[in-house]
């Protein structure tokens, strides 16, 4: 912070709105995604009179939160949101829960009716702290201007400390208008919230001893490694290479280990690779760093990796022993854990069983030889897998720094399977909550943070319509986001489950009355492309990538393609279905399995 700002802050009293902006600046906020309304007018007035913080006007408050998530996940900074009271706050709730489940640091400022009207059912009043209590990591209602600056500082600390998450600050209008003095962020540690980041040496030594003695080890990492910063991903790759063990990433963890690394087995879980899931099932020592044994990953719990010793490193102690009991628990920041593991590995004198490791790799290579992601592109109908694969190959040839966001459904899984990520923070997807409509606003946030990068939202035709209004935001800020729609005229994942589990009764999953996406793009001042034949796919992608502004590329793909491999709900890792020819196996889904989502 500059010296002039400091002297200003010490000297004069400010309005609540000015205090908020000053505190945002002190916490490094450069961009805020928001939508104005009555209760936040004082904040918008203060924003108008300064240039340090840029405001991006979205078209719906849900999109403001997703944009802040995209900004946060692609930069490692805290994303910031500003919405009004009542409907502004309730519209933001889906975004907040999305950020909660995916551990994304976001601070969301919500307007509130003046304190004397709280509880009166006033116009645009909602019990925002009540509604968002289970939707946030923490929330605040500021009723005393003397605590305003301190609350904002604390909110940023809470959003980023430990396991990151969304924080709401509810700001009554009289607090924003009232006068108070600014206080800088405290140097003292927080009174009660001090998450452990440094792992215990004993647990690290135990983990290394297990790993050194392993015959069939595997490393499974998740979003915690991404959240720990790019250095943690570098350390992860270093550890994978020095130990020679195979590595798999969760959906949230893609990019931590380079996709091109020969020791990388691809994503694991429900739509993970054959080799990753069978290696998880057959390993004798599993090291989980920053993942949470989510139900998409484990499949049937009592059949999950039955013969392995499990080591779990997580910054959130409540993630450990929640779903899967583990043998060694390590609480700490993923980067610090990896650093400690690398050091302990070097210090430990025990030799690895190289012969066993070589045999393990021969087994893994045999699984790999199944080519579980193989597909055949024949004729003019575009396979969605082929569309993603070509998009990946052509962007790689281009050599630009590329960021991918997705909506939710089949296209999301195909993107995870067929687009390779070499670096962390390049992959933004709604993993925990599975929010359709996440991809476009998230891509806006990424593009704001990285104006010169190539940002692509891989979408489905159903999901994209959930936040299509954000085309207006792209136009206003000239954000050259590319929207790559895999258009199969179905809510594809719903259709797939209906085919496999509900007798092909396609109840309400057909995307009827779709818009003309080319005209839709044009009406929002963007470029529209439609590709219907495989022979035109490359030209369409080339045109999209070459266009300097925002583009919707509407790619008509095979309507009935299913996303494989797949572990049917309620099944174990070694019961996965590889492809359509084998889908008779799904008939074996139990009633217990059908209950699961």
């Amino acid at each position: 912070m500059s010296a002039t700002l400091q002297t200003q802050t010490e000297a004069r009293t400010m309005t609540g709105a000015e205090i908020v902006l000053q505190a945002l600046k002190e916490n490094g906020v450069e961009v805020i995604f928001g939508y104005p309304g009555g209760a936040v007018l004082p904040l918008y007035d203060a924003l108008f009179q300064q240039n340090a913080i840029r405001h991006i006007l979205v078209r719906h408050e849900q999109a403001a939160v997703h944009a802040a998530e995209g900004y946060a996940r692609s930069t490692g900074k805290v994303g910031c949101v500003l919405v009004t009271s009542g409907p502004g706050a309730t519209n933001a709730v889906t975004g907040l829960v999305d950020a909660l489940l995916d551990s994304v640091p976001v601070v969301c400022l919500t307007g509130q009716v003046p304190t004397h009207l709280i509880g009166n059912d006033a116009f645009q009043e909602a019990d925002t702290t009540g509604i968002t209590r289970p939707a946030t990591k923490h929330n605040y209602l500021v009723k005393d201007i003397g605590k305003l600056a301190a609350t904002v500082h604390e909110a940023f600390y809470v959003a980023r400390a430990g396991r990151p998450g969304p924080v709401v600050i509810d700001l009554p209008k009289d607090i924003l208008i009232g006068k108070g003095t600014y206080q800088e962020a405290p140097q003292a540690p927080h009174r009660s919230y001090r998450p452990q980041t440094e792992p215990e040496a004993g647990a690290i030594r135990e983990a290394v001893a297990l790993l050194k003695g392993a015959k069939r080890p595997i490393l499974y990492s998740g979003g915690g490694v991404i959240n720990a910063g790019p250095e943690a991903s570098r350390l992860l790759t270093e550890f994978v290479r020095m130990t020679g063990m195979p590595c798999t990433n969760t959906l949230m963890g893609l990019g931590a280990c380079p996709a091109s690394d020969p020791q990388f087995l691809g994503m694991l879980g429900m739509h993970g690779t054959y080799e990753a899931n069978l290696a998880m099932h057959g390993c004798d020592v599993m090291l989980n760093i920053g993942a949470r044994f989510d139900d998409r990953v484990t499949g049937r719990l009592n059949a999950f990796s039955p013969a392995s010793k499990k080591i779990h490193a997580d910054i959130d102690p409540s993630s450990i022993n929640k779903n899967v009991p583990v043998d060694v628990a390590i609480v700490g920041d993923a980067g610090r854990v990896l650093q400690a593991l690398i050091e302990a590995w070097k210090e430990d004198d025990a030799a690895q069983d190289k012969a066993a490791l070589a045999a393990w790799w021969r087994q893994i290579d045999a699984w790999r030889a199944k080519q579980c992601l193989g597909y055949v592109q024949q004729g003019s109908i575009i396979k969605p897998q082929h569309a993603v694969r070509r998009l990946y190959e052509m962007t790689r040839e281009l050599g630009r720094d590329t960021y991918i966001t997705t909506e939710v459904g089949q296209h999301q899984m195909w993107a995870a399977q067929y687009f390779g990520f070499e670096k962390p923070n390049r992959w933004m997807t709604s993993g925990g909550l599975g929010t359709m409509g996440y991809g476009l606003p998230s891509a806006m946030g990424v593009q704001i943070a990285h104006p010169d990068a190539l940002v692509i939202d891989i979408a489905g035709e159903a999901s994209i319509l959930m936040n299509i209004q954000e085309m207006g935001t792209l136009a206003q800020y000239r954000l050259p986001v590319k929207i790559f729609i895999l258009n199969n005229e179905y809510m594809g994942m719903v259709r797939q489950w209906q085919e496999l589990l509900h007798g092909s009764r396609y109840s309400e999953s057909y995307s009827a009355a779709l818009p003309d996406f080319v005209k839709l793009a044009e009406s929002f001042h963007a470029h529209g492309i439609r590709v219907t034949r495989a022979e035109d796919l490359d030209a369409g992608i080339r045109e999209m990538l070459a266009h300097p502004g925002p583009v919707i590329a509407d790619i008509a793909v095979a309507k009935d393609e299913n996303c494989f491999p797949m572990i049917p709900s309620g099944a174990a890792h070694n019961e996965m279905i590889l492809g359509a020819g084998q889908s008779g196996g799904v008939a074996g889904v139990t009633d217990e399995g059908k209950v699961l989502v």
């Binding site: 209590r133 929330n139 809470v158 009660s192 022993n321 009991p325 043998d327």
Partner: protein, 174 residues
Amino acid sequence: MPDPSDTTFRNATIAVLVENEAGILARVVGLFSGRGYNIESLTVAPVDEGRRLSRITIVTSGTDMVIEQIKAQLDRLVPVHKVADLTLEGPHLAREMMLIKVVGKGEHRSEALRLADAFRARVVDATTESLVFEMTGAGDKLDAFIALMRPIGLKEISRTGVVGIARGAGGLLA
């Protein structure tokens, strides 16, 4: 490591030291209802001079794995200073207070007073046809007294729920 195949339920008395701030009780109760945990009883009051800290005592039940989860989930709430499993961490005291109203005359009335004396319950209100006793003790002692009062003329009960503290010199904050 808790054994996930162990499905035996146990009771746990958990003490939680929290910032005394708006919404903290809703946060704790919401955590229990949102994640499907049991609450047998819950008490809360400020416990320091400046009224900045409150102590919550929760009696809950579940498998070892669930109780470990409850403690971990409580501990990651931002305003929570300390979580202790009194049941697991050693000998502790657990007490409840009760106000119990008994209505009756004659023989019933003297029987109620005789039993109250045996249980060391205090008479805190009396009319010609009613008595209110105040009684403190472990939950099962209160239950036993209630069972005895039922045939005599039990009218109404108000119980605080359990408060607990560890025996010995140790405290919640080290």
